[in-house]
Symmetry: C2
Subunit: 370 residues, 2 copies
């Protein structure tokens, strides 16, 4: 996947043209000890559509009016978007401004509107530091006191707010450049608030992002809080992408009676355009309070049974490369993985990501995902 | 431990006296479908001092001016306080008002100022529902649609705010009464923000509370954010209590040079008054960013070495029943257990609690903790 990189280079070129007179480039403003670089220079990852590389949003302009107003609005949140860069700076700062300065009463602001930094270590991606938000305009020294040497970094953008601008600050004189592009096609996740990342404590803990780090693959987060409803309009948009795998995880936002017909419609739409791309259907997680709330238990069970029926019908019709993950052990068996029964915490997301990584590895083994 | 219960009965008696004229008791206001009961009627647990049973705070009046202003202020937060009751209601509501309406940028409001409900199941305490806060005055239906039958519940109060009042609402006609008292002495935790519960997503996920549920013991949370400094004035207060075990987990708030002398002083003070009560010294957790921030790595190591020296000196002096937990594996080895390197998430707290439960069980085996 090097689309983002291409757009990054284009933008960098534009910056150079604009600053031919010798002034400081907008993406390269110098302060006393820090050199700031617009994040777009290094390519924005986790994007489905090329036109988005400069806007930090998740849906292309043509989706407006096609998807619901709520989906469009949530598409402006930067969930899953990230920037990868290489630097030898001994400290990394980030300046970012958010559009909504959103507050949620069941989710830490660090995840709602903060940034989250990882670096590549011999053990894989390892957490480095968080940028805590203070308002619309934010600046944070995310890590300092690093030993000399060049490292690859991965910076996640806010999960539940939109971002107007992001700049990465390195020490004056330090190098910074785009990381090598992902080698393989992305995995696309279409889902609910759980997919979008509610209620992680940091942007990097949304489950598609954990999976991305674990598999060292690009993941595209198309989770829309309360609005991941297996919408055929969304399916048409998803079919435009060319991912390694589609993961459909919409049940928590759907009514039981919607599950079977919409699953049939969405899978058929995707398979008509992308017959060779595997699809993974995921049952609703078993909410943490189903053991005591009889009504919720009943609803979750009905939805999962409906998804299973749709899967069996599609399999009977001969649909190939369609995979299924039932609810068993998707969430912590001790019931402690959520904040409110439904929305996963870092504890719950870690468990869910591990379960889906196992599933994706099995699909990869069968299909040699590119 | 039946001090809280005794005070609960006393208060219930007072309520009855006040309402001899036949009006609704202040703790038993009837609405259309819900019968409200002041939480104090059922005893407030997690308290060190008897006088506190009606105030939802953690430090006795005599501590004011003796401990630092910051410790006194944080002592007004209800971290670790909980109420246990038995009811056959099919739904449970909670009304609670907080004093500060505190907001933190790295912690969910549900944990800062929300309430958190568990129920006893054949597998032990199991999570039921959270009361999300909306402001100073809050009301939430925490669970509904429960099957008929009597259950024991455990309601945790906010971690980072003070509480003025808490009322438990059951369906009209449903029973509600105090649960049986804890059978054993409490475990007292003296520590930092990590002990107080930063940054859990729910009040029940502070590590002393997880340990309490796991061991089915009362735990007293004397964690003071930024101010758990092995203060001799606090040690004098702690020595007034008669717990099964003291856990001292203060290092993250201390300077390296303070660790050895203060540990010696605090342990000697406690042992002078409570020679038979075991003490567990806990090293600082290895912060998630020590792998990349050299300065932080150095500071944590210095503190832990100083604690080890103090422990060895005390052991050489013949101090009995003094136990030590080094930093190894206190936090998730993959570095994902914190929100900001220091403050644990539900993922980190689960890991830390498991490590300390193991330690406490070993101490229990040796000492038969009452």
């Amino acid at each position: 996947m090097n689309r983002s990189i291409k757009f990054g280079f284009l933008l960098a070129l534009l910056c150079m043209v604009y600053t031919a007179g010798g002034a400081t480039a907008p993406g390269q403003e110098k302060t006393a000890a820090t050199q700031w670089h617009a994040a777009q220079q290094f390519g924005v990852r986790g994007l489905g559509w090329e036109e988005l590389a400069q806007t930090f949003t998740r849906l292309p302009a043509k989706a407006q009016g096609v998807v619901s107003e709520e989906v469009w609005r949530l598409g402006q949140n930067s969930a899953g978007l990230h920037v990868r860069f290489v630097s030898n700076s001994k400290s990394i700062k980030v300046k970012w401004s958010v559009r909504g300065n959103v507050s949620l009463n069941h989710m830490a602001a660090t995840a709602v509107k903060g940034v989250d930094l990882y670096a590549r270590s011999p053990q894989g991606w390892q957490w480095v530091g968080v940028g805590k938000p203070s308002g619309k305009k934010n600046e944070a020294e995310v890590v300092t006191n690093m030993a000399p040497g060049e490292r690859e970094f991965l910076l996640y953008l806010p999960l539940y707010d939109g971002v107007d601008s992001v700049a990465i600050g390195v020490e004056n004189g330090a190098s910074i450049s785009a990381a090598a592009p992902y080698e393989k096609k992305p995995i696309v996740f279409y889902g609910t608030s759980i997919t979008q990342g509610a209620c992680a404590t940091r942007a990097g803990m949304a489950y598609p992002s954990i999976i991305g780090r674990c598999l060292n693959r690009e993941t595209i987060n198309l989770g829309f809080s309360g609005n991941g409803k297996m919408d055929p309009a969304m399916a048409n948009l998803l079919a435009e992408l060319d991912p390694a795998l589609y993961v459909l995880d919409c049940l928590p936002n759907m009514k039981p009676e919607e599950v079977q017909p919409r699953t049939l419609e969405v899978v058929r739409l995707l398979k008509a355009k992308r017959p060779d791309t595997p699809i993974l259907l995921v049952e609703s997680i078993t909410y943490a309070h189903v053991w005591i709330d009889q009504r919720v238990a009943d609803v979750v069970q009905k939805k999962n049974q409906a998804l299973r029926k749709a899967y069996e019908q599609l399999a009977a019709e001969g649909v190939k490369k369609l995979y299924y993950r039932n609810t068993k052990d998707l969430v912590n068996p001790n019931g402690e993985g959520t904040v409110d029964g439904i929305h996963l915490t870092d504890l719950g997301f870690t468990h869910l990501a591990n379960a889906l990584v196992k599933e994706i590895k099995t699909i990869d083994k069968k299909n040699k995902l590119k």
